[in-house]
């Protein structure tokens, strides 16, 4: 009769080879019962130990316990293997073609002019300017007269006007605002310095349209009034705007300009973003965006005329201020490379869905 030790060896060999054959949970359970169950072969050996002499019992006992642990571990390992294999099989069966398109969701977008306007306003809001709004249909008084542009003033030619069919005392007095500047006076009438506002809105001109002019466009007016505000602050504020909206590389050209409601007045050009200020494109063609000048007018500005401050009751010796007006469509054109301003309000979906 073989010794118990030999039997243990034989059990181990048989158990391991059988375990390797087990393919499912049922087989594993069967295997467990056959070797480790209450009547399992190893259990029987352990029970038989009692009848052995002490010396042998200790030797065989130690070996039997080792084998019990080893088989338990082998079972756990085999279970893990089978589980892994099962999951792999499941994944394989249900493998997705991840390159298929997603389920369609409706995509809405804001108009490119809205997006640009928001970026511009956000830029000034972060500099402490507050956004306010005013009427689009205006009195001559606010659009012109309060801005030092009386009737019969030649500067009226700078703002070709659409008049509302309304007369008072034989004179037309209601119009579609030609700029957002009326809000300078409107706001100052109701507020005391310090003031920092930006006023966005639609403005209208009696103007033939071309690729860079539309009769309706969106303007942003800016106004700051306080003690100690100078042209240096105006330049600094506008330079910061250019840096944030057009990037740090743009060159700026500040020049003397004329508006009846600012003194001194200042225009701002930046070097053309399309041809990089060269006036010519890479292929040698003339650049149409800047009309081959290399420069693009971005805005008009200046120090608020002291008469306007005085007319709203401010002490024009004590307070100074600056103001500017800029066209948002122009900025949108430059940012997105749109070559004709009229495209914005034709609302072709094939254009709008690109923004």
């Amino acid at each position: 009769m073989p010794s118990l030790l030999e039997e243990l060896k034989e059990i181990e060999v048989a158990a391991r080879s059988q375990l390797a054959e087990a393919r499912d949970d049922a087989a594993l359970e069967e295997w467990r019962i056959a070797y480790l169950g209450r009547r399992g072969r190893l259990t029987l050996v352990l029970r038989a130990l009692a009848s052995l002499p002490l010396e042998e019992r200790r030797k065989v006992g130690a070996e039997a316990n080792r084998l019990k642990e080893a088989l338990g571990a082998a079972l756990a390992q085999r279970q893990a293997q089978l589980e892994e294999a099962r999951l792999t099989a499941v994944m394989e069966r249900g493998r997705l073609d991840v390159t298929l398109p997603g389920r369609p969701r409706a995509q809405g977008r804001l108009h490119p002019v809205t997006q640009t306007l928001r970026d511009v306003l956000h830029c000034f809001e972060s500099m402490g300017f507050q956004v306010v709004e005013g009427p689009e249909v205006e009195w001559d008084r606010y659009n012109f007269e309060a801005l030092r542009i009386p009737r019969d003033h030649p500067a009226r030619d700078m703002w070709a006007t659409l008049w509302v069919d309304y007369e008072k005392d034989g004179e037309r007095s209601m119009l579609l605002r030609t700029h957002t500047s009326p809000n300078q006076v409107r706001y100052m009438e109701g507020h005391q310095p310090p003031i920092r506002i930006v006023v966005p809105g639609r403005v209208y001109r009696f103007e033939a349209t071309d690729p860079i002019h539309d009769w309706m466009h969106t303007q942003v007016e800016g106004l700051a009034v306080d003690e100690g505000i100078s042209m240096a602050d105006l330049k600094g504020t506008l330079a910061e705007f250019v840096r944030r909206i057009f990037g740090a590389d743009r060159k700026m050209f500040f020049h003397c300009d004329y508006f009846p409601f600012t003194e001194p007045s200042m225009g701002l050009l930046i070097d053309c973003v399309v041809c990089n200020g060269e006036g010519r494109l890479r292929d040698g063609q003339g650049c149409s965006t800047c009309k081959e000048t290399g420069w693009i007018e971005v805005l008009g500005s200046g120090m608020v005329h002291p008469e306007i401050l005085a007319n709203v009751g401010y002490d024009a010796e004590r307070y100074t201020g600056f103001a500017w007006g800029m066209g948002i469509e122009r900025i949108a054109m430059l940012r997105y490379g749109v070559e004709d301003v009229r495209l914005f309000y034709q609302n072709d979906l094939r254009l709008l869905e690109q923004f």
Partner: protein
């Protein structure tokens, strides 16, 4: 205003290349729109003088020519031209400048070259190299008077500066005015044109009388008499200048008046003296019904209050605008009465607009000219007529000057300059800049300047004007840049704007595309979408001077523009098109500006996408539109109710009115097919509209926190049968009226057997909950019974199943 550069250089030396000069002028406020050149722009080519010609050490045909470039700068180049000689004025191109290659005929940039062992930098140019002709056998030799160092373009060829001037600078509508600016910007002295002439004729006194009854409109009137004129063409040099400046040539007399206008900025008019009745000039207002034949051939009825120039009997010119045909200078004219006057700017502008006649004269007068100018310009023109028309000038000039003004003096402090410009400029710099512009400037220590304004600067009147003068000549780019300091003003809430921007975000997030359409439309388009009665209540405001019939009225609704845009969208997009706009509509008010109502309009139509994005799903329907407006209202934190609504543009029975608070805030529904057809849309279109102004009072500043329920809820289904016409919302309201019901959700609507005809079954999932304790089954049962009783009693409902 076109200024030929050669003409300009008669009054000031041009020491800068033209593009740089144009840049400086633009920076100073005289915008140069374009530099028009004939013969090439010759950038980088300047006038030089050959000072020495030496033999080339290794080549017989070549010489080493040393040229003086101005300012002591010299350059030695290898030259192969046979005609080069010391003392010649030549055209010199520096290294890097583009010239025409003599052999290939193509523009090439000049490079440093070693020719037979001798380095050569730059080139003395031939006509071919300058692009003037094909002649390449010798260099161009310029006349003696060419100024060394000046750009070639300023001497040879014709460059014209085309200015886009602002209306505040009528003084710059003249070559001399531009010369003054150039002088100030480049430190060059200005040579004023000569106004001296011999008075060889008899005195004017006694032969010409000038009366100015309209003193308020004519501050000054000068008249000169020139006799023995031989009319004919003006000299070639004058013709060239006038043509280059863009003027038409007439005859020597008229050309001279135009020439002096361009030169000095003062419009002049020449009358044939013999055609003036009574030897008399009367500056008066026009008489009722007075008519005049103008020089341009038109007949004008003179508007009331117009200022005219009359002889003893009738009007002979519209003052400051245009002369009359009857007193025109022609080839038989021998005696000219020359008018050089100052007229009221506003009056001239009114007249010019009333007559719809704009001339070079009216364009200048309306901007307000110097009152000192008429006499100077009259003398200048008389001098030219004497010299160029073989004429004799009468002794003296009649000068009626009722509007003489004191010289303008402005006191400006250093402190003000610093405040406005943000920089402390040295006293010497301020004085130098102002002096260069013709201002006289006395510094009164410690802080004041007393500035006398030259007569031609009618635009400078206050200290800040002086600040601008200083800044624009110093250069705006020289001013520092600083950031605003000081207190940031307290912000005020802008609820209207916040609401509108939130609406935009919510609608875009809901899958709608924002569009922006024009505010003006035509009446017919509005009539397509509006009830005639509504049109009568809010008649759209009309534009008095519309650009076209399509842009004649301010819109009172966004509907029409959205439907129009939808129609064009459906032509390019096979699936769903969903568009919205948030803009104002303009509702008229009596004797006031219109009410500008912030409005939202959305339109959607088309077939929804299937799994693959193909437009093969179900068609967009009423509940898609309603879902979006519900989402919008939820996004705006506004509670609204919906009930059946009616409107001209909507299909009855497929339309809901949106009520917020007690008022109508909008509509949602199917666009009436008849209205859709008006926009060439033949499929179902759904639309919603919201008046944001109506929502405003109902928008909470911030959402109000409700404690999360601490006790569990009990969910039960409740199905009732009601009349088919009963709105489901009524049933839901009744269920939710229970204090123990947190929410009731409709989940099924069913008609058909076993529900009797004319009835429908509504199934709700009801959530019972108490804020104070956990509900017992008995409490829920009891409350459920009460609800059912109320539904039966109030709505005629019966419990189902």
């Amino acid at each position: 205003m076109r200024v030929p550069v050669k003409w300009l250089s008669e009054y000031v030396d041009i020491a800068l290349p033209l593009p740089e000069l144009a840049r400086r002028l633009t920076m100073a406020g005289l915008e140069v729109g374009e530099i028009i050149t004939s013969g090439g722009d010759w950038e980088g080519v300047s006038i030089a003088q050959v000072v020495e010609v030496a033999k080339h050490p290794k080549a017989d045909r070549l010489v080493l020519a040393t040229v003086e470039l101005g300012g002591g700068e010299r350059q030695t180049v290898v030259c192969g031209a046979p005609n080069v000689a010391a003392g010649q004025k030549v055209a010199f191109a520096r290294e890097g400048v583009t010239v025409i290659d003599g052999r290939t005929g193509k523009p090439t940039a000049l490079r440093r070259a070693v020719i037979r062992g001798v380095e050569s930098v730059g080139m003395i140019c031939s006509e071919k190299e300058l692009g003037l002709s094909d002649y390449h056998e010798g260099i161009v030799v310029l006349p003696e008077d060419a100024a060394v160092g000046a750009p070639l373009a300023s001497y040879l060829g014709d460059s014209v500066l085309d200015f886009d001037l602002r209306p505040n600078r009528p003084d710059a509508l003249s070559v001399v005015g531009v010369a003054r600016e150039v002088g100030a910007l480049t430190g060059q002295p200005v040579r004023e044109p000569s106004i001296e002439y011999a008075e060889a004729g008899p005195p004017i006194k006694g032969r010409v009388t000038v009366e100015v009854p309209a003193r308020d409109l004519c501050p000054r009137y000068c008249a000169a008499l020139i006799e023995g004129i031989r009319t004919g063409p003006s000299p070639v040099w004058m013709q060239e200048r006038l043509t280059a400046a863009g003027l038409r040539l007439i005859n020597n007399v008229v050309d001279i008046t135009n020439y002096v206008m361009l030169e000095m900025g003062q419009p002049l008019h020449a009358f044939d003296f013999k055609k003036l009745r009574g030897g008399k000039i009367v500056v008066r207002r026009g008489r009722p019904g007075e008519r005049l034949a103008l020089l341009d051939g038109s007949q004008k009825e003179l508007p009331p209050d117009v200022l005219v120039i009359a002889d003893a009997e009738v009007a002979v010119a519209v003052a400051g605008v245009m002369g009359g045909a009857d007193s025109e200078v022609d080839d038989k004219t021998t005696t000219v009465l020359l008018e050089s006057a100052n007229f009221n700017a506003a009056s001239i502008r009114r007249t010019s607009q009333a007559l719809k006649v704009r001339t070079d004269a009216s364009n200048r007068f309306e901007k307000g000219l110097s009152r000192e100018l008429p006499k100077l310009a009259a003398c200048r023109a008389v001098k030219l007529m004497v010299e160029l028309c073989g004429a004799k000038a009468a002794q003296g000039i009649v000068d009626v000057y009722p509007g003489r003004e004191k010289e303008v003096r402005i006191t400006v402090t250093q402190e003000r300059l610093r405040r406005v410009l943000g920089v402390d400029l040295p006293v010497s710099r301020v004085r130098q800049v102002l002096g260069s512009l013709g201002f006289s400037c006395r510094h009164v220590p410690p802080d004041r300047y007393v500035v006398r304004v030259p007569h031609w600067r009618t635009d400078v009147r206050i200290p800040d004007d002086v600040a601008e003068e200083v800044a624009r000549i110093v250069g705006y780019d020289e001013l520092p840049m600083t950031q605003l300091r000081g207190e940031v003003p307290a912000a005020e809430r802008q609820p209207r704007r916040e609401l509108r921007e939130r609406a935009r975000d919510v609608l875009a997030a809901a899958g709608m595309q924002e569009v922006v359409t024009y505010s003006l439309t035509d009446r017919e388009t509005l009539a397509k979408v509006l009830d005639p009665e509504d049109m009568a209540i809010y008649p759209p405001l009309r534009i008095a001077n519309p650009m076209s019939r399509e842009q004649e009225y301010l819109r009172t609704t966004l509907r029409a523009d959205l439907l129009e845009t939808l129609a064009s969208g459906l032509r390019v997009e096979p699936g769903v098109v969903a568009l919205f706009e948030t803009s104002r509509v303009y509702l008229p008010r009596e004797d006031d500006l219109p009410q500008e109502v912030e409005s939202v309009c959305g339109v959607l139509s088309g077939v929804k996408p299937d799994r693959w994005g193909q437009p093969q799903g179900e068609a967009v329907g009423f509940f898609d539109a309603k879902g979006i407006i519900e989402r919008l209202l939820a996004g705006l934190e506004v509670n609204a109710t919906f009930e059946e609504g009616h409107d001209f543009a909507y299909l009855p029975g497929h339309t809901a009115a949106v009520t917020v608070g007690d008022g109508r805030a909008g509509l949602v529904g199917q666009v009436h097919p008849r209205v859709a057809a008006g926009f060439d849309i033949d499929q179902d279109v759904f639309m919603f509209e919201l008046n944001l102004e109506a929502l405003l009072p109902h928008v909470p500043d911030l959402p109000r926190y409700q404690p999360v329920a601490r006790f569990p809820s009990v969910e039960q289904d409740l199905a009732v049968t009601v009349d088919e016409s009963l709105p489901a919302a009524r049933v839901q309201e009744a269920i939710e009226g229970s204090p123990l019901v947190r929410r009731a959700r409709l989940f099924d609507v069913y008609t058909g057997p076993p529900v009797p005809p004319g009835k429908k079954s509504l199934a709700f999932s009801v959530s019972f909950q108490s804020p104070g304790h956990t509900l017992t089954d008995a409490e829920v049962e009891e409350e459920r019974r009460r609800i059912v009783q109320r539904l039966e009693r109030e709505l005629g409902a019966t419990l189902r199943g």
